[in-house]
């Protein structure tokens, strides 16, 4: 029987009977099949976080081996080739396989909960993004484990990456793996963008969205624009290696610098893409512990966007020494100095939030607050490299290594660890151990700064990056020993974090729905949330729905326990992009194995390309095609309908 085209979604109070009906609709299958076929954003989000964290640990172990080698001059722990593969794999792991996916994991888990929604806009695409991320990580690590890890740094400059200088499979694993991973990032980006603009609950207009939306949305718009540049670059590299195209070969009319432009056009926006969501996690969590709203919400939101826009115009500051004309360099130098302003907005907003609030000291707060200082240290060293003549001295020394680690550990890892302490109760229903948390924080903090603060001096004393060893009379011995000790202390801190997670999972105190008395919607539902997230789709009237009555900003009251019931199928509310007016019932797909099957097909295809087994490529394509047909097979329950307006329509209803 055909469902009616229009239906008025019922509005009513939340109650146990209704929740039981929703549970039946939303709960996934138990067992292995349920595990493999789930499209629940919460499960996918946690998978992202766990997978990315495992990769963080792998990348960390790689760095410890390197620090062992560099602890003293002329050491022989590693051969030059082993060292070069390790530092490249470390960069690949941390930058591509950890830093971005972990933030996708948090936003994946949190966005629907913060938006008063029941899932991401495209749940199956979400599952596919995760499976492809996992498959590409395995693909890249199979390269590493078979002795074919990347060996030309994460930046992978040509001509060293071309076949003349790099005859092994190393660069084929890396270039195909990056194209593979890029599809996951691109799909994830599209999903985040649509989710941001279509699934916020009624009333959550664009000026009331949680800060996490701004960072993640901005980062994903950037990803959608720049990931194709790097995927293209790696694809061209693979063609060059395997089929003798000459994109980068100067003796046949190619240009080695083309690689650097394509790479950094992606690479610099990417740096912002892996810090902006983390910054907005701080903007979410820090105010809660300061017991007040974030200072300057609008300015901070706009500066997030401004950072990204300027971030598209600074890529050449990675190429100041490549012989480009001085006039061109000065524009990029100016843009790189100007980008300090939007970053400074966030710094001062956080500081003001602390000064004008009453900070409650928790482990999460300590991570968020200390991040401010790490950010400033990483920021000012970045500002130094923005000055072209100074950069001619700084670039490719350990000064830049210190800089990038203050940026990536300071602005990504610290907020991420803080975010785990902050949202762990929501994800698991249990609080993390605060006592162990303090030990964890202080050891991590001291270890990190011990390792990387003196490294600035190592750089100013001229130690080049990416060297497997150094002579004893260069003046770097003591500094390197300190860095090695610091890196092991940092590793101990991370180990304590893992201990705390495992311990708290088993014995942590029950958290309740809102242990921090926080303001956003995810704290209005039980911990951990039920599969359907919200019994009723709430209607919000302010930026801080759970703090209404205590702040002066809201003129109306949000309705959290009475709202759209949407219990006739897996449904959530679609709303307009800016004002979040309800205009469509979004029909959500059932769990399905299609994303996993598609991933298997694409994986076979990529292995076929790697080994040039064209039958495998064809087989992979067939499996992928079958999965896509399975995916797109029309289903009656996915027909989407606009709700019939309760009042006579003010304007023509739009059909999606």
């Amino acid at each position: 029987m055909r469902a009616p085209d229009f239906r008025v979604p019922a509005v009513g109070p939340d109650n146990p009977e209704h929740q039981a009906r929703l549970l039946e609709l939303w709960e996934g299958e138990p067992g292995l099949k349920g595990f493999l076929s789930t499209v629940d954003h919460k499960k996918i989000g946690i998978r992202y976080i766990v997978t990315a964290f495992i990769l963080l640990v792998l990348g960390g172990i790689e760095s410890l081996v390197m620090r062992w080698q560099l602890a003293s001059p002329n050491a022989h722990v590693l051969t030059p080739d082993q060292y070069n593969v390790l530092f490249s794999t470390h960069g690949m792991t941390m930058i591509f396989l950890y830093a971005s996916p972990i933030l996708s994991g948090f936003s994946n888990y949190l966005w629907p909960l913060m938006f008063g929604s029941r899932d991401m806009a495209f749940p199956r695409l979400n599952a596919l993004s995760y499976w492809i991320y996992l498959a590409s990580a395995i693909f890249l690590y199979v390269g590493f484990l078979t002795g074919n890890g990347p060996n030309d740094g994460w930046f992978n400059y040509v001509p060293y990456a071309t076949r003349d200088y790099n005859p092994g499979l190393n660069q084929d694993f890396y270039s195909l793996g990056m194209v593979f991973l890029g599809t996951s990032t691109t799909m994830g980006a599209a999903n985040f963008i649509v989710t941001a603009f279509r699934t916020r609950c009624p009333g959550m207009s664009i000026n009331r969205v949680p800060m996490l939306l701004w960072g993640t949305l901005t980062a994903n718009v950037a990803n959608l624009l720049v990931v194709p540049a790097v995927s293209l670059a790696f694809f061209l590299l693979w063609l060059e290696r395997q089929f003798g195209t000459h994109f980068f070969d100067h003796s046949n009319g190619g240009q080695p610098l083309l690689w650097q432009h394509l790479f950094w056009m992606f690479g610099h926006p990417w740096v912002y893409a892996i810090v902006l969501p983390a910054m907005s996690m701080v903007s979410e969590g820090l105010p809660v512990f300061c017991r007040r709203p974030l200072v300057g919400y609008s300015v901070v939101a706009l500066s997030t966007v401004a950072t990204m826009i300027l971030g598209f115009g600074v890529w050449v500051h990675h190429m100041f020494a490549t012989g480009l004309p001085g006039l061109g360099l000065s524009f990029f130098s100016g843009a790189s100095i100007a980008i300090v302003f939007p970053s400074a907005v966030a710094i001062f907003a956080w500081l003001a939030t602390i000064w004008l609030g009453r900070p409650v000291i928790t482990t999460a707060f300590l991570y968020f607050a200390s991040m401010i200082l790490m950010f400033v240290i990483g920021g000012v060293s970045g500002f130094m490299t923005a000055s072209v003549p100074v950069d001619w001295q700084l670039t490719d020394t350990y000064f830049v290594v210190a800089h990038i680690h203050y940026v990536l550990i300071g602005i990504n890892v610290f907020p991420v660890l803080g975010a785990v302490y902050y949202w762990f109760p929501k994800m698991t229903g249990r609080l993390m151990d605060e006592r162990l948390g303090r030990w964890n924080f202080w050891i991590t903090f001291i270890g990190f700064n011990l390792a990387f603060l003196p490294m600035h001096l190592t750089g100013l004393f001229g130690m080049p990056r990416r060297v497997y060893t150094y002579g004893p009379d260069m003046g770097w011995n003591t500094l390197n020993m300190i860095t090695t000790i610091g890196s092991f202390v940092l590793a101990l801190g991370v180990l304590l974090f893992i201990v705390n997670v495992v311990k708290s999972l088993r014995t942590g105190a029950a958290a309740g729905a809102n242990p921090w008395d926080a303001a956003t919607l995810e704290w209005s539902i039980p911990s951990p949330p039920p599969p359907y997230n919200f019994g009723v789709i709430p209607i919000v009237a302010s930026r801080h729905p759970l703090w209404e009555g205590r702040l002066t900003e809201a003129t109306a009251t949000s309705s959290l326990d009475r709202g759209f019931l949407l219990d006739e199928g897996k449904e959530t509310m679609g709303t307009s992009a800016l004002d979040a007016e309800p205009n469509m019932i979004l029909e959500m797909p059932e769990d399905t194995l299609a994303p996993l099957l598609l991933t298997v097909g694409v994986s076979i295809l990529f292995v076929g390309l790697l080994l040039k087994l064209w039958t495998a490529v064809a087989a992979g394509a067939v499996v992928a095609a079958v999965a896509i047909v399975m995916w797109l097979w029309p289903r009656a329950q996915l027909r989407e309908r606009e709700p019939e307006p309760a009042q006579p329509p003010q304007r023509e209803p739009r059909h999606a």
Binding site: G323, W355, V360, I361, T362, I372, P389, T469
Partner: protein
Amino acid sequence: MSSTTPLSYLSAAGDRAGTILPLTWFTLIVSIVVCVVIAVLLYVGVSRRRVRQTAQIQQVPVTQAPGGLRWISVGLAISAVPLVITLVWTLSALAATSGPPAHPGLTIDVTPHQWWWDIQYEGERPSDIFNTANEIHIPVGVPVLVRLHGGDVIHSFWVPQLSGKTDAIPGQINLSWLEASTPGRYRGQCQEYCGAEHANMGFEVVAQTPDDFRRWRADQLSPAPPANTAALQHGQEVVEFRCGLCHQVRGTGAGGRAAPDLTHIMSRRMLAAATLPNNPGTLVAWIQTSQELKPGTLMPDQFLTATELPDVQAYLETLK
């Protein structure tokens, strides 16, 4: 040059690096001041009214004290001052140091290879042109133009005491320049990752008085001295046979151009791209066990016999 930290760029010994040095110090000091100020603000802000007990969070009321936006506007206004100064200073320092000198006193062509530096001195007549490796001599007080050619992969030319980095990229010729104000030895280093032995790809710049430089140049122009004993002749034959495919010894049958020119190897202080001090012991060790001393280097271990090795060593020692 600072003897304890030869690659430090917190001091300078020449015009180009010297113009940049105050800007480096300015941005460094501004950066340190900013970090200290923010650290103090953060520490005071956190400790002023903090609540130590995590469990009490539910009891601390939520408030909304006004005045936060002033932090942002004042903060940005203060930040603008050093940023604008830096921008203007950057542009003027860039203009002063980026362009090569209009009338260089000397022009050198440098072609970095995996993992050594080929250095060619330009001359007015073809017979004035000669090649050397890994050690650049320049006269003090004269701007020296360095033309950087791409050899194989990308490398970067850097002499921190004299000049910032410029990459050498296949398919293009990049220009750099040096000017030393006092005589001395200045360490240089490849600064762009270039493969296995990127770590051991150094060189030295020797700044000399104009007279010393002229003498050095005349010496370098001369071919290898004749081998005038039986042992030396044997040594030269082995060098021509075993080394000559890659190395050049001008005036002999060794004519390879794929590796450092050896015509005056004993005049250089270091071996293997500033990896080893140059003395008879290291020279022999380098010939026989280069793969152990610099794993991955394109020079294979030579396995010279007990009769060949002393003669080769003796012959090479005449190449002053």
